[in-house]
Symmetry: none
Subunit: 188 residues, 4 copies
């Protein structure tokens, strides 16, 4: 129970090296990059990776925590920024898409049901679903959307639409997500 950050300097250095290495490996080979590659990039043994991040999901979470946090914080900010709630929602979804599309293979893992990514799923849901829900509720309250779709379903759909967007330049996930969001406004 030492708070978030380890006290020993070398340990902290190792952890940071691992995060950097993992980020680089994820870029190069996707979030399923071999553990050994990550360890090699960080200049440590594989055991050290496992010590710091018992599961791959833990590592992924750690690598992307900052960006997830930023995404989570963007929700209330957008809502408070003056535009309509629907515009805020659309803006936030944009933010989310940017995040997913730039992280090689992350979108695909987000929908993977293999155990071992549970921590990742949990973190994503814990952190972002409330934000998305708040935006959806606000847009619903303002009468801009009528759909009853919930935040989990919406995020899952957006996530799915982003699968493969990083590796195929001809695939424009953003446009399709726009369509999906536009669909929310439709009367039903």
């Amino acid at each position: 129970m030492a708070g978030q950050t380890p006290r020993r300097a070398d340990v902290r250095r190792n952890e940071q090296a691992l995060l950097d290495a993992a980020a680089a490996a994820f870029v190069a080979a996707g979030v399923e990059a071999p553990v050994r590659d990550i360890a090699a990039r960080a200049g440590v043994g594989v055991g050290t990776v496992y010590r710091h991040f018992p599961t791959r999901a833990d590592l992924v979470v750690a690598v992307y925590r900052h960006q997830v946090e930023a995404c989570a914080e963007a929700g209330p900010e957008l809502l408070a920024a003056g535009a309509t709630p629907f515009a805020a929602l659309a803006g936030w979804i944009n933010h989310f898409v940017d995040f997913l599309v730039t992280k090689h293979g992350l979108a695909a893992v987000l929908r993977s049901d293999s155990t071992g990514f549970d921590a990742l799923h949990a973190y994503f849901l814990d952190r972002l679903v409330p934000v998305c829900g708040q935006l959806l509720d606000a847009a619903r309250a303002s009468g801009e959307i009528h759909s009853e779709v919930g935040p989990v379903a919406l995020m899952r759909g957006v996530g799915n639409l982003c699968i493969g967007a990083d590796s195929d330049p001809d695939y424009d996930a953003r446009r399709l997500v726009e369509l999906l969001v536009a669909g929310l406004r439709q009367q039903r």
Copy 2:
């Protein structure tokens, strides 16, 4: 003397069993499902799989072909059925989603970028894109939709939304696809 199809009844049965088994295996474990699993589902030895389908791509193509033909034929039929073009498009997309989700969960391969599936992608696109394009054009001509999204993008989006729909009962791909299709009507 039978041209394309094998003459011996057991061989034909086996091939069909293999196709069914592969389809099921793809649903359960994706297009990269172990050959041994497919063989086991079909009740045959692995050698039999390799005899009928020397490469995995051959198998996937064969599994697809069956369904793809039915789907392709459904397009003109729906268009001729009397409802509006947009209704025909929506109906066809429904059909497509059924194909992807209910029966085979092949959505994942649609987006696979691994080489070796090129032949598969090509076939898929060759056969279905024109059908979808025709429906899109008709709906556009009738003034029901204004979006400029093309058939390739639309199908890819629908395909992506279907990923994982078979294995997760809480994920309602149809609803999200409805949203996407609804989005097509939006003014631009």
Copy 3:
């Protein structure tokens, strides 16, 4: 019990086609050529190969029977030809080497102890050892050689020296066999 040759014409034709095909396959890929290749070359099913030649050794024996017979018959002829017994032995060994060297991979199989080649070994020994033994005895009787090496050992040695002679043009098995034969004359 119909004597050596089958009575039905088509069967005889098949057998001959198989012998030719096997000979060709042995040249191209060695005596361990896949059964399916041989069947394909003969334009028959693999089952037919097995019907005619239950084991690979049976096939090899059949393919080379003529040449083995010729080799066996050459022994007495050389002995009767007027030269010294040692010269006859040397000549016969030459004959034997020619046979082995021109049969891709046969020499290697001759020393293989894998069951399945038993028939081949047996045939070779049955047919050629007595011939070689006769020549050795004669040379010993004439006082030209003193070595006590027996025909089995000698043939085995010659066979071994021939291994790989077909695939490596730099390897001159004949010269080494000459050395071996020359060694027989040495006083002990």
Copy 4:
């Protein structure tokens, strides 16, 4: 800090166990012995084999090296030991045969023409051919032998004669090699 050899004792032990196991497996089943068998003989997992020797050739080379060095060093020693050059040559060949037959039965690989063993062949030749050549030259200079056979051919012949000597107690490779060596003295 140890240069070539691994520092951890258990690793070194493992590597040696692997070399011994591979040598034994090669004797029993040839250089193409299943990796799993080698691992089992060494009491390790297959992964360990691959860690130490990424390719089969690496393993075979390593197994050879050990013995080859000893054999190479024996040449000059025998020559300096006082007997005639021919006796030294005969002694060295004996050593070589022991190496091939008694300890490892590696003779079969010496003649393997499968690519991937090129490095092995090269090493073998580089190390032993000069030694054998020196002995041959000396024996030729002393007038004890007259044959023009070179070291490569001689070694190849000896190697071939040793094939299968380990697995067949009735096959006396040494006697045949003696014959071959005796043949070197023959006038031509």
